[in-house]
């Protein structure tokens, strides 16, 4: 029996490991910013300034940003670059045909990226984006001059390189199954960015926090309402239980 349990455990562990090896490095855990309005607002600013030129968020309306504590006037003054109507959705200015020429494809819509990129055993979509935004490195063999460890051979250049500076990954040789393979060890900063590595990570945490919020903007309300619903149901269940017991106590 013990052998059986052991073999089952091994089987599921192998299956899990095989799943995790879906291309790209293991994902870092993204910080949870869902309750930090300042971080979400900072993330929104980064998103509108750096991402929205090429990527749309076609299901997201600008005025929905009121939910993370911005006023309509603030949105109009600071974030409306691509439209003049605050009730519009976030559409990229990039022409899809040009995008095809430049990057080989149309940049994906980012409204739901923090949800759709989740993978069982690997992490949430937020973890993926957080890792992706922090693992660009220069690669002269690519058309854009950039490559990425989380998304090998990605078509997108490192848009945030001025903030992060240039880094190259370093590898160490490791023996695996009798072969020598190169395993990612860490990063070497080649040129400095305008942000320190810690500042850059924090900024990316805010940006990913914003993307997570945008993927599921009802999340905050959902959890708040959910607590009350469950509390109500607890009380209701207690009375339903006592009512049932009161009827059944005379049944012999």
């Amino acid at each position: 029996m013990k052998k059986l349990v052991a073999s089952f455990t091994l089987f599921f562990a192998c299956a899990g490991a095989a799943l995790a090896a879906g291309g790209g490095i293991a994902w870092d855990k993204a910080p949870d910013k869902s309750n930090d309005l300042l971080a979400l607002q900072h993330g929104a600013k980064l998103f509108v300034n750096y991402c929205l030129n090429c990527h749309s968020a076609a299901y997201m309306r600008f005025n929905r940003l009121k939910d993370i504590g911005l006023t309509e006037q603030q949105i109009k003054d600071n974030l409306l670059f691509t439209t003049d109507k605050v009730g519009e959705t976030m559409k990229a200015t990039l022409d899809p045909r040009q995008a095809k020429d430049w990057f080989g494809g149309n940049p994906p819509d980012l409204t739901l990226i923090a949800r759709s990129r989740s993978a069982a055993g690997q992490g949430s979509g937020a973890d993926y984006v957080y890792t992706y935004l922090r693992t660009f490195y220069p690669d002269p063999s690519k058309a854009t001059g950039w490559n990425n460890l989380a998304f090998p051979n990605v078509g997108m250049p490192h848009v945030l390189w001025e903030l992060q500076g240039q880094r190259v990954p370093e590898y160490t040789p490791v023996q695996q199954h009798g072969h020598e393979v190169e395993v990612f060890k860490g990063w070497k900063q080649v040129t400095p960015g305008t942000m320190s590595p810690a500042e850059y990570d924090a900024a990316m945490g805010d940006l990913v926090g914003y993307l997570s919020w945008m993927a599921d903007p009802s999340q905050g309300t959902r959890v708040r309402v959910g607590v009350w619903v469950l509390l109500f149901l607890l009380v209701f269940t207690f009375f339903a239980w006592r009512l049932s017991a009161a009827y059944w106590k005379d049944v012999k």
Binding site: R115, G226, L233
Partner: protein, 466 residues
């Protein structure tokens, strides 16, 4: 036709109104037949709440469905966006949508539990065969309903899942490609498919489903509920003509079911409010990407409730076909050498085995995978005529029967798990063994269910007052 009943003009207004209605519509009679004077066994246990819960979930699905249709657009260009519109811009739209998506999975959970209850307590045995058959038809409708509903959000998994399943029909010999074309209404899954699935999902299948639910309940209330002891309570009646071991459904089981419903709602709302995707099982992550006919996802998995059947489909490989042929010949030879049958009948059996073998060798294994997948559901209909046990309930079956059922349940769960996973060599072997067990459980039931000595069945139900 009943006589016109007179009531004193001095009676309270309510009584007079009821009398007026009763003379024109059997309201009091319906109430008494199905609630007030419907006697259910008093020893029903935990497993008996899932029937009422399925009705509850059905109501949730219909009501939330109505509100979703008010904002949803069945158009390949607009469908995905309209679901996101519901999630973001429709007031409380996210709640309605999460209730509907969680409700789909909840439906299968309560129905699987309900079927399991029927299975272990022999609720399909005489005189409840039709209750079971209607129930199986409901299950079939539910699968069609879930499958077609899943296309509507028009995400990647919606699209490719539908593509895979509709292509299965193309494996049918001769008419397959035309059949698939008929279902899709196009050469690929597209706008035409979305529109017809929408029509089926919101009106055609629900109509059939509601009719079947009515038939299921009418048949049940005609024969009366079974119970964990499998004892017929109608056999022992009191002086008033009511079963001694029975108790009026209302109020006893209504208060009981309200309690069960509130427990159910705690789990249901916890998922809706705190984990609506349930780790990718209730809402698949890939389905948050709009359908793209040019980009096939790496791994296409059906939603969890279809995965046991999907596993069985994948288990049918060319190798497995040889095993199935061996099973057919094994069965045929046993019938010929051991069965007490007329010679002509034995020759017919051998002839049938030859024909089936020839068909299996000449058609693609994929088609037989489809046959096995469909057969796994269809075989449930025949359960009442496969069980030869002298007793109904697992409680009085020979003790080792319990293990047969336990392995059946574990097997079903393992098959579900494997159906979610990407194909693997070891997974394929396990699901092949699992498929054989699943079908062996049913097809060999006439033999194994009559083996062993059943325990004595009491004449009255076991009931501990609580």
């Amino acid at each position: 036709m009943a006589e016109m009943k007179e009531i004193s003009p001095n009676a309270p207004a309510g009584a007079r109104l009821l009398n007026w209605v009763d003379n024109r519509f059997p309201l009091s009679q319906l109430y008494n037949d199905h609630l007030g004077q419907y006697y259910a066994p008093k020893n029903l246990n935990f497993f008996y709440v899932f029937g009422a819960l399925s009705i509850l979930v059905l109501a949730i699905q219909i009501i939330t469905g109505i509100f979703l249709v008010m904002h949803y657009k069945p158009d390949a260009a607009l469908a995905f966006g309209s679901v996101e519109y519901i999630m973001r811009d429709v007031p409380w739209g996210w709640l309605i949508r999460y209730m509907h998506s969680t409700g789909a999975s909840a439906f299968f959970i309560v129905v699987y539990m309900h079927m399991f209850r029927g299975l272990i307590y022999g609720s399909y045995r005489k005189p409840r065969e039709l209750v079971w058959v209607f129930g199986c038809a409901i299950f079939l409708c539910l699968m069609a309903e879930a499958f077609m509903g899943y296309l509507l959000p028009w995400g990647q998994m919606s699209y490719w899942g539908a593509q895979v399943i509709v292509n299965l029909f193309a494996a049918v010999p001769f008419v397959g490609p035309d059949l698939a074309l008929l279902i899709r209404g196009d050469y690929v899954v597209g706008d035409a498919t979305l529109n017809r699935f929408f029509a089926f999902h919101v009106i055609a299948v629900p109509l059939v489903l509601l009719g079947l639910v009515a038939a299921h309940i009418i048949a049940l209330h005609e024969v009366g509920s079974n119970n964990p002891d499998g004892v017929e309570i109608k056999a022992t009646k009191g002086a008033d003509g009511n079963p001694l071991d029975g108790i009026p459904f209302h109020p006893y089981y209504t208060v009981h079911d309200i309690f069960a419903a509130s427990m159910f709602f705690m789990v249901f709302t916890a998922i809706i409010f705190f984990a609506p995707e349930l780790g990718g099982y209730f809402l698949e992550y890939n389905n948050f990407i709009p359908a793209d006919p040019l980009k096939t996802p790496l791994h296409i998995a059906p939603v969890w409730y279809f995965t046991p059947y999907y596993s069985m489909l994948r288990a049918i490989t060319d190798e497995m076909m040889l095993v199935l042929i061996a099973c057919i010949w094994g069965g045929a030879l046993v019938a010929v050498f051991r069965g007490k049958l007329a010679v002509l009948f034995k020759i017919m059996i051998l002839g049938a085995a030859v024909v089936v073998t020839a068909m299996m060798l000449s058609t693609d294994a994929k088609f037989w995978g489809v046959v096995v997948m469909g057969g796994a559901v269809v075989i449930l209909f025949f359960l009442p005529w496969l069980d030869y046990s002298a007793v109904k309930s697992i409680r009085y079956r020979p003790s080792w029967h319990l293990y047969v059922y336990a392995i059946f349940v574990v097997n079903f769960i393992v098959l579900s798990y494997l159906g979610i996973q990407p194909p693997s060599a070891i997974g394929e072997r396990i699901s092949q063994v699992g498929t054989l067990y699943y079908f062996g459980f049913f097809l060999l039931m006439p033999w194994w269910s009559s083996m062993g000595d059943p325990k004595p069945v009491p004449s009255r139900v076991n009931f501990a007052p609580h």
